[in-house]
């Protein structure tokens, strides 16, 4: 038992690596993410390298995300699939999707929980910035990959690997179930390139922005009782307190960028 590891060296382009996991049920998936981080870091170190799951360690190149593919099952049947449904998605899938969109801004506090997370959520690096979904675009907040039948799933693309997988999965599941309970309907899919739309056009199409900073995400969390309930009282208050301390510490820092911009100018 245990697993075998084989390491070989290849010439590859610098930097980033990705693992695609086979899906697992929620608790096991969260456990696997934690195990994965531990194993990657250990093996990297043995090769004289450091593996980091920090979302945006370097300016100007793509950050590290942790896209989450998800589906609800009833026994062996994927509850997101309906052969007769529009685009073969079930009403359950659309309600769940609508729940994720409805609570997207509060979910961001959980899925992108550190100051640095928001340095990744900027245009130009394939990370989502706007709250929209698409079955065709490759860079929306929520993508519906083409697989159907047992592979029918929603892909939440904003999550980054600094997220606590237990909290992130609990929060997204709760938001989706709220969509099902309230029978929410999603806005129309946006298959155009949102980055090319002016702000007025986005507003006219009801496309909102994800929060731009941890501070703003926390403000949305404080008004979203559904996402709060996903954490429960104890975790919600502990999380909020801890994040407020983090933000307070960050906002007192003076960055190199500020000195470069302002020292000689003023």
């Amino acid at each position: 038992m245990g697993f075998e590891v084989e390491a070989s060296h290849h010439e590859v382009a610098p930097g980033q690596h990705e693992v695609d996991f086979k899906y697992a049920n929620a608790l096991e998936a969260a456990d696997n993410i934690q195990t994965f981080k531990l194993v990657v870091k250990t093996i990297a170190r043995k090769h004289g390298l450091y593996a980091t799951f920090m979302p945006k360690p370097l300016h100007g190149i793509n950050g590290s995300g942790m896209h989450m593919n998800m589906s609800l099952f009833k026994g062996k049947d994927n509850a997101f699939f309906d052969a007769e449904g529009e685009d073969q998605l079930s009403a359950t899938a659309l309600h769940f999707l609508a729940g994720l969109l409805d609570h997207a801004r509060a979910l961001t506090a959980i899925n992108n929980p550190i100051v640095n997370s928001y340095k990744r959520l900027v245009p130009g690096f394939e990370a989502p910035v706007y709250i929209a979904w698409s079955g065709k675009n490759r860079s929306p907040l929520i993508r519906v990959p083409s697989g159907r039948g047992v592979s029918t799933r929603l892909e939440m693309r904003s999550v980054d690997p600094s997220a606590n997988p237990y909290l992130s999965i609990a929060a997204m599941l709760t938001a989706g179930l709220d969509g099902i309970e309230e029978k929410l309907q999603p806005e129309e899919a946006v298959d155009r390139n949102i980055y090319r739309m002016a702000q007025s056009e986005r507003l006219a199409n009801h496309i909102q922005d994800l929060p731009s900073t941890l501070h703003n995400a926390l403000k949305y969390l404080e008004t979203d009782e559904v996402v709060q309930s996903a954490l429960g009282d104890h975790l919600y208050h502990s999380f909020l307190d801890s994040k407020n301390v983090e933000w307070a510490a960050y906002r007192q820092q003076v960055s190199e960028w500020e000195r470069e911009q302002y020292l000689e100018l003023y």
């Binding site: 990657v40 990297a44 309970e181």
Partner: protein
């Protein structure tokens, strides 16, 4: 898709066969950071009987005035022997949930919380919530003191695992490597 389920006796047998010397009891704090309590194999029965204690403030960093000793309940399905060796003997891990001294689940343990939400999902009529994550990471070179630099590694190893629930690490360019059909 479900992982192998072990009984306490199976674990005891494996420990003997594999000469496991240390047990690492893993849990996750509120920030998603892995925490460990490592015990020698002599504590195996205590571990399997949910009797190992830890300080509850390591979950959320807040020191409480009242007693904060908590119990670690190992999930036997998470039993795993680490493949890297140590001169001192093999290390196995068990992921644990954190409980109060009366056995009730600690509400501040993120793993217990997810289990709670999963129960709610079942009450709503669904049997599982399947997740396929795609975690990305950077590899940086270490300096002479073993600290990470911001120099990206330019010769990354390709690591392949053979294990029933794992896929392989694919190295390569960032754009365009993502494929549909994580599940074939």
């Amino acid at each position: 898709m479900a992982r192998k389920q072990y009984t306490a006796d199976e674990i005891r047998d494996i420990v003997k066969q594999e000469n496991v010397q240390f047990l690492r009891l893993m849990f996750t704090d509120i920030n998603g950071i892995i925490k460990n309590v490592e015990v020698p194999i002599s504590q195996l029965d205590k571990v399997l009987n949910n009797k190992i204690t830890m300080d509850g403030s390591s979950i959320d960093g807040f020191v409480r005035i009242e007693e904060s000793d908590m119990l670690l309940f190992p999930d036997l399905d998470t039993w795993m022997i680490f493949p890297w060796g140590s001169e001192h003997g093999k290390v196995a891990r068990l992921i644990c949930s954190v409980h109060m001294t009366d056995g009730t689940p600690f509400a501040g343990d993120p793993r217990n919380n997810l289990a709670r939400v999963i129960e709610k999902m079942k009450a709503d009529g669904f049997s599982s919530f399947n997740i396929g994550p795609e975690p990305e990471f950077f590899l940086f070179k270490l300096d002479d003191n073993g600290r990470p630099t911001t120099t990206l590694n330019d010769k990354a190893p390709t690591l392949t695992w053979h294990h029933s629930t794992w896929a392989k690490i694919a190295s390569g360019h960032r754009a365009g490597t993502r494929k549909d059909g994580l599940r074939s």
